[in-house]
């Protein structure tokens, strides 16, 4: 029987099998950020340990950092302390750091691919659940806790239970104005926030093949919102083109690239490989999605009404009541009749150059509604520079947007970018949990065009009808 992409990578990285179906797995790349690493470095100090292979760890600052012009001067002393702790830890232990002010600083899941740190066939971990993003390259990439961060630093391995495999096939082609973001929201709405638990997704099918790397990353990014540790897409010409089309510091070059290319071609799942679960979704029938509740499975087509506690299948009545109360929504309301006060375009889900281009295309020659605050936060400093080279920053600023510097920003509001209680936000991020973007804030997850259009209209928009709304 053939092997899946996942099984090939798993087998290659197996240092040894342990009892109970557990494996000791070798880790190729360890991405580090300021929030989930300080306690791990302290653990090393306490035990008098060193990092086994410091060259395989790469650090950046993203969660805490301000995104405003004066960002280098962090006002919040606790945030500053955490950022400074990372700097010291990287110096003390010999880890490469792309710190605040560095030309390659940015959201860890944006800079990994940009720098060629993320490559097909690798095992990649980070103390961050959205590490699943890197699976878009055909890597096995998953989030870990701080104890596991320390474990990887010391041993360059992890003890892992082998996950099961789950094939998610998107047939057909996407309709105009429908994004990969809508594909993954549709998936989460279909199987639920725990539907992928214990599994690794492999996304395939015509609709996936035709996506750019940026769009593939948005899908893999949100695998964790369906409970899966990881999501993967087999490497192909699109992947190779992304890796080689520009200088990427850590990507293989010349003879090494030729060798790598030959290896990467062996990675896609064999034709007769079997998956533990499979699901097929007709991509052509997907319409733009919007979340109505307080987790990503509480999602619907933009033209549908907000469900009632009795009619929402798959939820307990209390969960729907709690969600609607928190969101300040009545059953039966259409979100196209609901005002938004803040629009956030950014996060490791949708802050790459392609996302900004498509948001800019909507905003070009238009202005945001007066009552809306519009934040555009590029995922990395390189994305910011690219956007400026293309003149996108002028479009954003002319539309009344705040054009920011790179960071996680309002996706989780660890920096000053936060929602106020009861503010309603159309957000291109990945989590609509209670309080996620600020205590009491109301998050609706949408694709980048839907977010941009909501800023102009001042309420949610069915982007398929744009600009004739």
């Amino acid at each position: 029987m053939g092997k899946t992409l996942f099984e090939k990578i798993w087998a290659k990285h197996m240092v040894r099998e342990l009892s109970d179906g557990l494996s000791l797995l070798y880790i190729d790349r360890h991405l580090v950020h300021e929030v989930t690493s300080p306690q791990a470095f302290d653990g090393l100090r306490l035990a008098g340990r060193k990092i086994r292979v410091p060259e395989l760890a790469f650090a950046t600052m993203d969660h805490n950092v301000p995104t405003t012009e004066d960002r280098l001067d962090i006002k919040d002393p606790i945030s500053r302390n955490q950022v400074e702790a990372l700097k010291k830890n990287c110096e003390d232990f010999g880890v490469k750091l792309f710190g605040l002010g560095d030309e390659h600083q940015g959201i860890v899941h944006v800079i990994g691919p940009e720098l060629g740190i993320t490559l097909p066939g690798l095992t990649i971990v980070c103390g961050d659940s959205h590490t699943s993003t890197h699976g878009a390259f055909g890597a096995l990439a998953f989030g870990i806790g701080t104890s596991e961060v320390e474990h990887v630093l010391v041993t360059q391995t992890l003890v892992q239970q082998k996950p099961r495999t789950y094939k998610v096939e998107f047939t057909g082609r996407l309709a105009p104005h429908v994004f990969s973001k809508d594909m993954v929201l549709k998936l989460i709405g279909t199987i639920g926030t725990a539907g992928g638990a214990g599994h690794v997704f492999e996304y395939c099918g015509e609709a996936v093949r035709s996506l750019s790397m940026e769009a593939r990353m948005s899908i893999c990014n949100m695998s964790i919102e369906a409970g899966a540790r990881a999501g993967m897409i087999a490497p192909d010409d699109t992947t190779l083109d992304y890796i080689t089309r520009q200088e990427r510091l850590y990507a293989p070059k010349r003879e090494e690239l030729e060798r790598a290319r030959a290896y990467w071609q062996t990675l896609p799942s064999d034709g007769d490989a079997e998956f533990d679960q499979t699901l097929t979704i007709d991509a052509g029938s997907i319409v733009p999605q919007v979340t109505w509740g307080t987790n990503p499975e509480m999602v619907m087509d933009i033209d549908q009404p907000v469900p009632a506690p009795d009619s929402a299948t798959g939820y307990s009545r209390t969960d729907v009541e709690n969600a609607l109360a928190y969101m300040g929504l009545e059953p039966g309301v259409k979100l196209t009749d609901v005002d938004v006060e803040v629009v956030f375009i950014g996060s490791c889900t949708n802050s790459r150059i392609e996302d900004l281009r498509r948001a800019a295309a909507i905003l070009d020659g238009r202005k945001k509604a007066d009552h809306v605050q519009l934040l555009v936060v590029p995922g990395s400093h390189q994305v910011r520079l690219q956007a400026e080279a293309e003149g996108l920053d002028w479009i954003f600023k002319a539309a009344g947007a705040e054009w920011r510097y790179a960071g996680c920003s309002m996706c989780l509001g660890m920096n000053p970018d936060q929602l106020l209680p009861q503010q309603r936000c159309a957000s291109t991020s990945n989590r609509n949990f209670e309080g996620r973007q600020g205590k009491g804030g109301r998050t609706h997850l949408v694709n980048p065009e839907m977010a941009a259009a909501a800023a102009v209209a001042g309420k949610f928009v069915d982007i398929r009808k744009w600009p004739d709304i």
């Binding site: 000791l24 300080p38 302290d42 103390g127 391995t157 309080g435």
Partner: protein, 211 residues
């Protein structure tokens, strides 16, 4: 790590599915570079009023749950962010055991706990116990009808005994390795370093770009 063998304590309920780690410990508390000090901030947004007083409508603030150390909740507890701070907060707020249901719905199996949360819990000596949905419903009923209900958890015997009018015993499954780790309070990194020779041999033969 503090070993876990047996534990007896008051049982509290949190009747919500999909409790995410943002709710267990909100972002503002992740700025600390320490492993301690998270306990009072567990469930912060639900637990306190904007003035910082206890929010009395929050289930876990009921006086009958005073001194609780065992939490019974609904499925997919600990989903979302990988932040281990969520486990630190629960442990430091006095929880030793979390109980949740695995739910079978058609061909779908909904887990009691999210994958990363489960791993983080074990590494901090927090026992996570899965029961069937019916069993968890019965436990919710027991807690609601017996003020100050206590339970005795015995990891060796893999059982929880609820001390209501009639003692009720439920048994749970646990992976042998996890069980051993908890009972002995083993340090994970030390365990892996026993295989250091294997890691070195692997590295010597390893090539990133060949199968």
């Amino acid at each position: 790590m503090k070993p876990f063998t047996t534990h007896t304590g008051i049982v509290a309920t949190l009747n919500r599915a999909n409790v995410d780690t943002d709710a267990i410990i909100p972002k503002q508390f992740l700025k600390s570079i320490k492993r301690t000090g998270y306990g009072p901030n567990a469930f912060f947004d639900w637990r306190y009023t904007p003035d910082g007083d206890p929010e009395m409508s929050f289930e876990l603030n009921q006086p009958r749950f005073e001194g609780r150390s065992i939490l019974v909740t609904r499925n997919n507890f600990g989903c979302g962010s990988s932040r281990e701070h969520a486990v630190w907060a629960l442990v430091q707020d006095g929880y030793r055991v979390i109980i949740a249901p695995r739910k079978e719905a058609g061909d779908q199996r909904l887990p009691a706990f999210a994958d990363i949360f489960r791993i983080n819990a074990t590494k901090n000596g927090l026992l996570v116990v899965e029961f069937s949905e019916n069993e968890v419903n019965a436990i919710f009923n027991l807690v609601n009808t017996h003020t100050g209900l206590q339970a005795a958890v015995d990891l060796e015997k893999q059982q929880v005994e609820f001390q209501g009018a009639l003692p009720t015993i439920y048994h749970f499954d646990i992976e042998p390795r996890t069980k051993e780790q908890l009972i002995k309070g083993l340090d994970d990194i030390e365990q892996t370093l026993l295989y250091e020779a294997d890691i070195t041999r692997f590295e010597e033969e390893y090539d990133l770009f060949t199968l």
